[in-house]
Amino acid sequence: MNRKKSYELDEEMIDKIISVAYNDANIFDRIFVRRAAKRNDNVKKLLQTYRNTAIKVHNLREEDCPEEIIDSLKQKSIPLRITKNAFGTDLAAIVFGRPLVSAIASIVVIAAIIVALFSTREIRPVYSRQEIEYADKQTRQALAIVGKIFNQTGTTLKREVLNDRVSKPIKDGLEIVNNIFN
């Protein structure tokens, strides 16, 4: 269903026309106003009028302020407004005034957050109940193998070393001593 657009010159439409005339409008408003200007003569006239005004405004040049006005201002001692955080405002103007710089800054901030998250959090894999139970069984099995070897070495130490190589020679030695003295 085709719906005919009326392009009424309401406040919103006029604002859009002014923005387009002064080259401040976004791409959608530009397309919208240009289409409206093609189809509606009133819009076209108004856009042309504002464009002419915009051209005149842009062509205005700076003029030196007359000395007498500056002197009178000094006499009235109007305090000069100085922005304290000049660096901060300059930085904000650069970051938020330019879309590309703003986008890059956003990416850098997001990247920094991601890096911070990765570096502070451990990646914990998710295991199923069966996997954990199997791991528990394997742990017990592994430690049982360790225990078995420890026991074997302990037994060898007791039987072979302490009994045969230490206790028995001491016992034999004491028997010899006893025989000598008896």
Binding site: A142, A144, I145, V146, G147, I149, T153
Partner: protein
Amino acid sequence: MKTKNLLMILFLFSVSFAIAQEADYTKEPGYFDYGKITNLKTGEMITEVYLEEPLIKMVAKMAEGEKDGIAEAIGALKLIRVNEFMVDNIESIEKALLNIDKELQSSKWSRIIKTKHKDNLANVYVKSGGTNEYVGLMITSLDKEGKVTLVNIVGNVSLDSIGKISKEFDLPGMDKDKE
């Protein structure tokens, strides 16, 4: 174009960072690569255990209700590796174990137990990580039937706790357990 390049660099950076997060246990001081021995396997693999830290932590949580100290001792470990397998040529494995013994001792592992009883031999090594703590345990064992056992435990190893736990976990008929 610049934004695209920047996004690509950030993406690659994030991917490489994520990969770098994966634990590399080979860099742990208590890790010992005994691959040279396992390559000599000629018979069946009797036991193969490879448990990494996240799974060990889960096991430690499961053991929380058990006797005192078990959960803490298990939770302090980072890696448990066990390989038990059969070999035909016992002489070659004895030589290989001797080389491993030299290699371990030259890389600051302390041999705390060395036993040779009849045809069985078993060595236990620990890697010291500082004052009164061990960061690695390594066991090599060979029995008369040609069964080789290799154990490498990485992490904060308390010999006292491991000994106690081992007794607790002494599974009956373990020799017959062929999983």
